[in-house]
Amino acid sequence: MTLWWIGDGLLFLVVAPIAVYLLDGVLKAAKSIVPSVDSIARTAAAGSKDLDAVPLLLTTQSQVEQTVAGVAAYGSSLDVIVDDAEEAGR
């Protein structure tokens, strides 16, 4: 009979508090993850929206190609009409 009471005491005073403490810790940890996940989701959505302008890079690419082509044509013309430094020095 005494062992029964000792077992009851251990159950109430040791096992139950430890179980509740551990479970409460798990629950708090799980609850703390939720806001972080929501924040990550909002950030990812904003990042995805920021990339909506990426297709404009194709326009930039085209314009850079045209600009470099113009510079090349201009440089070619200058190469023809301006003497080289070595020739000018002679």
């Binding site: 009979m1 409460d24 995805s48 690419q61 090349a72 190469d79």
Partner: protein
């Protein structure tokens, strides 16, 4: 059933109830986390999809710009010579000559000449001709002559009272002939013998 057994049974039930409560709460939170991660995965998938061509496009742009830089550097050094080229670069961007030209490693060792000493004539010519040329703003003789903002004002100084329009029309030439509106006096000697000078006697 004895009292200790009943007490233990109550304790076990209480512990089981606590387990149920906490575990169900944890499950609810995990479901929220799972839903949030689904949103994250969707957005991350969009990011990956949208940013997929960026690398290729940016590399292409960089390649084009590299070609342009190579072209301009080569042309500058070819036409002006390495020393004067560095002087030009340093004149336009003070301190930039220290970095040197990308395709000319020796350019870092060049002592860039002062651009005002080398290209004085050309600089002044550019300052005179330059329309909104940056170099004209720093001209020692003041602003450029052909400054578009003041070109009309300079021309207006020639005509302080306003530039004259076309001159006033002159009177037309008189109409001549027998049917002219104005008949001029006729000479009396027409049709008569010619006058003769008096003879010496």
């Amino acid at each position: 059933m004895s009292a200790p057994a009943v007490t233990m049974l109550i304790a076990v039930v209480a512990i089981v109830l606590a387990l149920v409560y906490y575990l169900v709460s944890v499950i609810v939170q995990l479901r929220k986390i799972s839903a949030g991660l689904d949103n994250v995965i969707g957005s991350v998938g969009e990011i990956i999809e949208k940013s997929a061509p960026v690398n290729e496009v940016v590399n292409n742009i960089n390649g084009q710009l590299d070609a342009g830089v190579d072209l301009l550097e080569g042309l500058l050094v070819k036409k002006a010579g390495l020393s004067d080229a560095m002087g030009l670069v340093d004149g336009l961007y003070p301190g930039a000559a220290a970095a040197g030209l990308r395709n000319f490693p020796d350019s870092k060792d060049v002592d860039p000449p002062r651009i005002g000493e080398v290209y004085t004539k050309g600089t002044l010519t550019l300052a005179r001709l330059g329309r909104e040329a940056p170099i004209a703003a720093a001209s020692p003789n003041g602003p450029a002559i052909r400054n578009p903002a003041y070109a009309t004002a300079s021309a207006r100084k020639l005509y302080p009272g306003g530039r004259p329009m076309e001159p006033e029309p002159l009177p037309r030439s008189p109409v001549i002939g027998t049917d002219s509106p104005v008949q001029y006096e006729q000479r009396d000697d027409i049709g008569k013998p010619r006058k003769r000078m008096p003879t010496e006697s």
